[in-house]
Amino acid sequence: MSETAVLSIDRLNKHFGGIVAVKDLSFEVQAGEILGLMGPNGAGKTTLLNMIAGTYSPSSGRVNFCGRDITGLPAHKLCHLGIARTYQIPQPFTSLSARQNILVATKYGGKKAAGMEHDKIFDLVNLSEQKDMLARDLATVSLKRLELARALASNPTLLLLDEVAAGSTDAELPRILGIIEEIRKMGKTVVLVEHVMKVMVEAVDRIIVIDKGEKIAEGTPGEVMKDEKVIAAYFG
């Protein structure tokens, strides 16, 4: 394991009954890197994020975060250590306002969360106009941004983003790319799960492609797009 790795996954497995959702997966993410994670639906991307963030514990394998073994730690501890995630299907606190939603992360995210300014976060994700609305009254697009805002509010070292661009129109993509660029400037390490190719190609440093829980390709966006196994997994 290299010394600058923020996240290091070692032969991770996850079974659900007979289904193998993630199989013998190993990779590393360096400090400040933005890693893209691709794969067809059901490939195991969300399951992988769930294991890193502590929502599921792995069937076997290790997860290291900043040199520390975090395998099987509960989600709230991982948040305190500096891992934040968004949910693919937004999971807001429905009865709370957008502002209160991210206040939860500020108040409970540990010491490091105290420095984050809400107004800046809302500005960044373009949710300033709606911050006093109840989450249950927000449209899905806004809820996706709220996911991002909540994840940022705990001021994480590692950010796990699960399809934040899905469902956005082409016109909205520059904005999302801009947000990711800002997050990069904050010095955060990011694992980005995404289907939208434009986001992948423009925002990430490196891509890992998984299919049926297994890694099938790894490299720069340019390399991966030409890989035959990847083409087969997506179009075959």
């Binding site: 963030a53 502590g54 929502t55 509960p74 989600a75 709230h76 948040c79 305190h80 934040a84 995630r85 949910y87 999971q91 807001p92 606190f93 429905t94 009865s95 709370l96 209160q100 206040l103 939860v104 992360a105 108040k107 409970y108 995210g109 540990g110 969360a113 909540r150 509010a153 705990s154």
Partner: protein, 328 residues
Amino acid sequence: MKIPRLTTLASLAVLVVLALFPVIGIPLSWLNYLFTFFICLALANMWNLLAGYTGLICLCPHAFVGLAGYTLAIGSWVGVPFQAGLIAGAAVAALFALLISFPVFRMRGIYFAIGTLILPEALKAWFNYWRPVGNVYQGMGAGYSVTGVEGVTLGDTFWLGLAIAAASIFLVHIILRARLGLGLTAIRDNENTAASAGVNVFRLKLYSFLIAAFIMGIAGAAYYIYSPRINPVGGFNISWLLLPLMATVIGGEGLEEGPIIGAAIVTFLRFLLADYGAWSLFIQGIILLVVVVVMPQGIAGLLRQVGAYRFPLRLFQAVEGRIHENVK
């Protein structure tokens, strides 16, 4: 709308007037009904804290009430004064909550509800044969009378009930405005997201559970100072669950004023239906059903929807404005 300070003042005025009731010659039957209202209110407030704000459908208030009542009663037989027995009863209820939290918090939603429902039944069976001290009263099961409360007047228990009810309202008010309240609401809305945002879900649920068990225990013990006989069927009676449940749901779950309105209605119904015995529960059940169907957010929810609080709040604001002007 900003809540005018006069609202606090008005609440305090109500509290003072109620506190004067025993000394200004209010009919005793009123004091009795108001006492049951206070106990029901304290229980309902705590049930609302669990169901309405923490997302825990707790079906074992009768475990907390019964345990606290038995602690008071048994304590009174070994020389514990009832004041200490009251606190001890609440502490035992909270201790019981702590012990069961580890298994029951593993269950979610309906499983949690069913898990808690079994507990009072087990306790009832246990207290049917467990008799550590004292004499059986009137030969009924493992009943106990509470000794050492002969000098306690109806006025005294009235004040005790009033203090407990007021404390329960104040406590919920404080919790909801504190960090704890935000965390509990987050858990109620979405446990997974709460955990992802750094909330220690188990610990916060436990806090809420312990607070509720303690206050429910103290309310239960207060009832057995007022009516100093306890047996397993009475102490662990399911009506200790139904009372706060109905009050909360009819009044408005997850709304601060809900249990207050609900407890008043449930107590008033008890008064109206006092002569109808078993029919009373049936009629209350029907009312509950109607409320659930017609007003999913309870009466408080409906009042908020139609803006019923707007007028009194405006009135208070206007009065407050006048006072400020005159002071200048």
